[in-house]
Amino acid sequence: MPDSANPLAPTEAATTAPVIEMTDISITFPGVKALDGVDFRMFPGEVHSLMGENGAGKSTLIKALTGVYNIDSGEIRLGGQSVVFANPAQAQAAGISTVYQEVNLLGNLTVAENVMLGREPRRLGGIDWHAMRRRAKDVLEGLHLNIDPNSLLNSHSLAIQQLVAIARAIDIQAKVLILDEPTSSLDTEEVAELFRVIRSLKERGVAILFVSHFLEHVYEISDRLTVLRNGQLVGEYLTHELLRIDLVQAMIGKELTALEDIGNRAHSADKAESSETAAVTFLSAKGVTRKGSITPIDIQIDAGEVVGLAGLLGSGRTELARLIGGVDRVDGGQLKVNGKVLKLRTPRQAIKHQIAYSSENRRAEGIVDDLSVRDNIILALQADRGWFRPIPRKRQDELAASYIEALNIKTPNADALVRNLSGGNQQKVLLARWLAIAPRLLILDEPTRGIDVGAKAEIQKLVYSLAENGLSVLFISAELEEVLRLSNRIVVLRDRRKVADLVNDGLSVDDLLAVIAEGAAVPEIKTGAAS
């Protein structure tokens, strides 16, 4: 045990026995030591956050615990018993349940069917539908979730689906519940709801392993932290005894001044500039709308300007971005680029006008995971040229090499498949694809979601320096600090309409929150939130 690294060895550790004890765990992949003698433990009824950058070994540790990977050395004890899980089913049977970042449920089945999937109560050789609905209802009610078990899962928001996934995991009589980035696509209200559920599980004595890149969420919900870096244990801490800045330092192991740096520079420099030279409008939209998606909206983006889109999940941020990026078709209103009226029918046309939309849904709509890093980077450029005019191999290699270096993409080489990269590096590959077409307007929809602090800072810096070079950026993020740090102007959306267009001149998070929340009499998302 690395006691020296663990001066805060919690005193209550002595009173209860840990439910999970992993000792000296090592896992080696070809060429990489993914985990190197890591210790990890969890106590019943605690929320334990596993922290670390991408590639620190968080996922590997979780996969070792859930039987996805075999450990090369070390020991896993569950409730004092040494265990070896050959596959995830065994881990689940032993009471270790996992809810993954991407909800692994079946959208075209009902909530009840999803909760009971694979464990349907049977009667006379068939499924006892009555009992199934009743049990699903009991489970949901046990979590104080007011969700109709007979409704289709797809009819619910992602947040509700996540809660259903948790309900499903709980019904397997979990002793340990692993939540991997559960809050990354939830808005504030939904996070509160999730946390209420987590707290009630805590009371039942379930140990919860919480993985999140949102420090706020980590500090709000977790009792204890374990920090990993480069496959090694940094230490285990009590959350309330560890300052945030110390945590971040432990995670990335270097002084974190990058983030603060940008903040100050972003506004001052740009303001000075814009007062000197008259701003050139790059894109202006008048009353652009799409039925069932967003009400008519006006928005204007100047050359070299970073416009932030703020608002809760479902406020129309992504919908507006998709209209401007040509991903969805505009029903009404007018879009002008460089003063010329433009009708965008496909993303291809937007790209022709040097407008690039980088989707929030990295895996489903962004990267092409079975292609190499090189192919992913040149994809948009090549598609624009057409298949019969291939980019010469030498040029491809140059492009790939230059972006791998410029964006600090961690990959063995340009031939590596993108599926083998971590989330942050996949995001960088996607960014590289868009930068390769030399866009005039870059629409970034949640570019920093689910990636680590270091990569986040790098992407923020990149946005800043791109704007300095005259590129316009439409920046969407659920993290208001990030929006404030980078944007010259912030457009606030609520309920699919624009409510404010603010110059970012000394705005604070609270100011912005007030605008977002102002008059929000109608709850953002009508769900089964606790009555």
Binding site: P2, S4, A5, P7, D24, S26, P30, D36, G37, V38, D39, N70, D72, S73, G74, R229, N230, Q232, L233, V234, G235, D246, A250, G253, G325, V327, T346, P347, R348, I351, K352, Y357, S359, A364, E365, G366, I367, V368, D369, D370, L371, D375, L379, A380, Q382, A383, D384, R385, G386, W387, F388, R389, P390, I391, R433
Partner: protein
């Protein structure tokens, strides 16, 4: 050394190649002289191996087109019917012409047949890309209707052709090599060049792996699908003409019957996933050779005709099992099994002591 061993075993072509060699060895043992290739009086090559290359040509030609279709997440069930249509079209033109032995006549007949197939292939492409019909359903239409079209062209007859230039296409020799084999090799080489020397292959794979991401990156899937289904139909027509020429007769009901299944099988044995994405033309070549050698084996080993299908199925099951993800994973596990010599635990060193 060991790494190389696992690299070879992990290659997706390893098991198909093993199967191919095993089949050839079986034949060589069963039939003395199976491996021998002789040159006859005309300077042409003869032998069982040459037969495999010649008789396997139509399947290979179709499988090449099928590979691209499958890479886009599609499938083309209509290739067998297209064989029949192309053969019927060519034969009926030759028969109605005053001079069946004229090279010009045969050229026109072949070109018209190819053009007709191309149009029908674009029809498939239209159904799939513009109307968004599922590929299996879209091509099922032409699979069933196609034999009817061929029947209309032949007016319900089996058209027997006596034309020397036409006969050459299926059974002629060029530089001592069967003409059909040369055509198949040229098709394989041209398609490989077309897809790998341009960006066509990469864009096809991209659309097959992630259609929505490709759309957002500006890839025009519609154009690609037209091209791929058109090419597949064109190649089916080439195969159909070779088959018809070989039989010197166009039979609307039987030309190219079930060849779509052999072609799909060749693609799958070659390691291209039916889920679309990465494809391998080399793999398809090996797959087509495995299938043709298998068919030959049925005759050489003397398996009764009634058991032919069962034997073929058994071999296919073995190949697919060896290639399955489960087998690959098992090999991977065996490879990365913990070494016993390693100490079970070693002192851990936390990187930073805070």
């Amino acid at each position: 050394m060991k790494d190389i061993f696992f690299k070879v075993i992990g290659n997706r072509l390893f098991w198909p190649l093993v199967m191919l060699v095993a089949l050839v060895v079986t034949n060589a043992v069963a039939v003395p002289g199976f491996l021998s290739i002789t040159v006859n009086a005309d300077g042409n090559l003869f032998g069982s191996l040459i037969d495999i290359l010649r008789n396997g040509a139509p399947t290979l030609i179709i499988a090449v087109g099928m590979t691209l279709v499958i890479a886009t997440r599609g499938i083309d069930l209509s290739v067998g019917s297209l064989c029949a249509i192309a053969g019927a079209m060519a034969c009926s033109i030759i028969l109605t012409s005053p001079d069946p032995n004229n090279i010009g006549t045969v050229t026109v007949a072949v070109l018209v047949a190819l053009a007709l197939a191309l149009v029908l292939g674009l029809w498939n492409g239209m159904l799939v890309s513009v109307l968004g019909v599922q590929p299996m359903i879209a091509t099922l239409i032409l699979m069933t209707a196609g034999r009817g079209i061929a029947m209309l062209i032949t007016e319900g007859q089996i058209l027997t052709v006596q034309s020397t230039p036409f006969k050459f296409l299926g059974s002629g020799f060029i530089w001592g090599i069967p003409f059909a084999t040369v055509v198949a090799a040229v098709v394989l080489a041209l398609v490989a060049l077309l897809t790998r020397r341009t960006a066509l292959g990469m864009l096809i794979e991209s659309v097959g792996i992630n259609p929505e991401a490709s759309r957002q990156a500006g890839v025009r899937a519609r154009g690609l699908l037209f091209l791929v289904y058109g090419l597949c139909a064109l190649l089916a027509a080439v195969a159909g003409i070779i088959l018809t020429s070989n039989q010197t007769a166009a039979d609307a009901n039987n030309t190219g019957l079930f060849i779509e299944l052999d072609a799909i099988l060749a693609v799958v044995i070659g390691g291209t996933s039916l889920n679309g994405g990465r494809y391998s033309l080399t793999g398809t070549l090996v797959g087509a050779l495995v299938i043709q050698t298998l068919i030959t084996t049925v005759y050489t080993v003397g398996i009764p005709p009634i058991a032919t299908m069962v034997f073929k199925a058994a071999v296919v099951v073995v190949v697919t099992l060896l290639q399955s993800p489960t087998t690959t994973a098992a090999v991977e596990r065996w490879r990365s099994r913990p070494k016993t010599a390693q100490p079970s635990s070693r002192p851990s060193e936390p990187a930073v002591a805070r």
